[in-house]
């Protein structure tokens, strides 16, 4: 039973990290209909930023909590700057181009960023400082649920609640939903659509950066390539849940995380990806619009 709970929590932890990244995919898709393949790289850049900031701060002997907060904010801000710039450079000029063009541009951006970080850093795995301490009150259950699992779950939940609030109730959130539904009409009621698209990229990137910080500290090492596989997994999760749907992205991520965790635990860790992508194939065959996605009816 302990083993089951352990797998359950590790699945939820994985799932929440996927969710932080998947939200960026789904929000961008919802608003401009583009799969932003460079999004995984944003997450990787977030992890690197957090790594650099955390290393410097720990040399100067900052307390752990301060390091986490400062590194988190720095990663979010820096990644957002990347997200914003990528949209302006690689997607905005192609907004009225055929759908394939921005997709290729996104893949190009992804490869560029990977190699840029490869050159700027190294291809080696870098040891990421353990930012999350082992809490004393967790000791009795430490063999089942780690402290960092707990921190990840709580942080993700808080971030999701804030995001939901922003989307549902604030001026920016309403404008984002309006733009997603009918871009021309949104412009006609006075919404600066370019600004709203930028805001979407900024929010999505900040979420991915927080995910990057959390997972890097959880796993303990990073390199330039972590964005690729995490990006593909999160994209899978977003499609699983129904791309374009925010609750869908969260649900899809949790389902994917749990599937992987149980597959690893009960079958073999070699089959982790096999199960993840088989799930994607099954969903695409039987419910192509995803778990919470609505079937699109094309008007002719």
């Amino acid at each position: 039973m302990d083993y089951f709970i352990e797998l359950l929590f590790s699945g939820l932890t994985r799932g929440s990290i996927y969710a932080l990244i998947a939200l960026g995919y789904t929000m961008v898709y919802g608003i401009i209909g583009l799969i932003n393949f460079a999004h995984g790289e944003i997450y990787m850049i977030g992890a690197f930023t957090a790594f650099i900031v955390a290393t410097v701060l720990s040399i100067y002997g900052f307390p752990l909590l301060a390091i986490i907060v400062i590194a988190g904010v720095a990663a979010a801000v820096w990644s957002s700057a990347y997200g914003y710039t990528i949209e302006k450079i690689a997607y905005k000029p192609l907004r009225h181009a055929p759908r394939l063009s921005p997709l290729i541009s996104a893949i190009g951006m992804s490869i560029f960023l990977q190699n840029y970080v490869l050159l700027a850093q190294t291809s080696d795995f870098l040891p990421f400082p353990a930012l999350i301490p082992e809490f004393e009150f967790m000791e009795p259950v430490a063999h089942i649920v780690g402290s960092s699992d707990l921190v990840i779950l709580i942080t993700t939940t808080i971030v999701m609640l804030i995001l939901t609030y922003i989307i549902k109730f604030t001026r920016v959130g309403k404008a984002m939903r309006a733009t997603a539904q009918d871009r021309t009409m949104a412009m006609l009621v006075g919404i600066n659509v370019n600004q709203i698209i930028s805001a979407t990229f900024i929010i999505g990137s900040a979420l991915a950066a927080i995910g990057g910080l959390l997972i890097a500290s959880h796993i303990g090492q990073i390199n330039f390539y972590i964005g690729f596989i995490a990006g593909i997994k999160a994209f899978t999760a977003a499609v699983l849940g129904g791309i374009g749907s925010i609750p869908g992205a969260v649900l899809g991520s949790l389902v994917l995380g749990l599937t992987e965790s149980f597959a690893t635990g009960y079958v073999s860790s070699d089959y982790e990806d096999v199960f993840a992508f088989s799930l994607l194939v099954l969903i695409l065959i039987f419910k192509p619009s995803g778990l919470l996605g609505k079937a699109e009816t094309k008007k002719v």
């Binding site: 804030i162 922003i166 109730f169 604030t170 001026r171 920016v172 959130g173 309403k174 404008a175 939903r177 309006a178 539904q181 009918d182 021309t184 009409m185 949104a186 412009m187 006609l188 009621v189 006075g190 919404i191 600066n192 659509v193 805001a199 900024i202 929010i203």
Partner: protein, 263 residues
């Protein structure tokens, strides 16, 4: 003060080889209700699309009087959201509400261009943001009351009866505080009762000093509402004048009914 609120000079719009608008002049005075009529395909909606920035007109100038001053601003080359910000708001021939949002949210969206809170405000919720949200809410409620939709505030826009959806479009446009309100066939598809209610609503809005330019096919409505009427055919203006003048204008009768075979 300048009495003209909208001034359009020689507006021309070509689509490839087709001239949809041919050197059109039009003006609206402050507080007036002006109607733009013409047979199907005359270019009325194209005209709206040109002045609201959806299409970039081939030639011509559009000026909108700046509020409370003698100067007017050119709308040429502005994007739709900038045009709305300058004070031109419109409704659509086929209803274009944000279907997956509530009635209240649809109107609140209209307040977007008159408010400023952004991502940081949304995250940190400082006092300015909270006050602004409160004022958006209050203004939106007031507008919904004015158009008589207060019982529907939390319904999804696409669940509303047809006539109510039309009124919601008007409410959303009003929320942007337009200098000039553009209505594109507001009575299209309405039953007689709904049309009467719409007429009352337009008169009420107009009595508060709102300038209105409308496209409409329902002649009873046009004749009873309008101070002046412009008539278009094949992208050209063929007549302008008061409802009485228009009713008796031979060019208008010809455009609508065709030429008399015997004549």
């Amino acid at each position: 003060m300048n009495t003209q609120i909208l001034k359009v000079n020689g507006l021309t719009m070509d689509f490839g080889g087709i001239r949809a608008l041919n050197s059109l002049d039009l003006d609206v005075n402050r507080g007036e209700i002006v109607a733009l009529i013409g047979p199907n395909g005359a270019g009325k909606t194209t005209f709206f699309n040109c002045i609201t920035g959806i299409y970039a007109p081939t030639e011509g100038e559009v000026y909108l009087a700046a509020p409370g001053s003698d100067t007017s601003v050119s709308l040429k080359g502005l994007k739709p959201n900038q045009v709305t910000e300058k004070g031109l708001a419109r409704t659509f021939q086929n209803i274009r509400l944000f279907a997956k949002m509530t009635v209240l949210e649809n109107v609140m969206i209209g307040r977007h261009c008159r408010t400023k809170a952004f991502v940081l405000g949304a995250v940190f919720r400082n006092k300015a943001t909270r006050d602004e949200e409160q004022s958006i809410l209050e203004t939106s409620y007031a507008i919904l009351q004015k158009v008589g939709l207060e019982q529907y505030v939390n319904e999804f826009a696409n669940n509303l009866p047809y006539g109510a959806q039309r009124r919601l479009e008007v409410a959303r446009a009003l929320a942007t505080e337009p200098l000039l309100l553009l209505l594109d066939e507001p009575a299209a598809g309405m039953n007689p009762q709904e049309t009467i209610e719409l007429e009352k609503l337009i008169k009420e809005i107009s009595s508060e000093g709102q300038s209105i330019l409308l496209i409409e096919h329902d002649m009873t409505l046009v004749m009873s509402l309008s101070d002046r009427i412009f008539v278009m055919d094949y992208g050209k203006k063929i007549a302008e004048g008061t409802p009485v003048e228009i009713r008796e204008n031979p060019a208008v009768i010809k455009a609508y009914l065709g030429e008399d075979v015997d004549a």
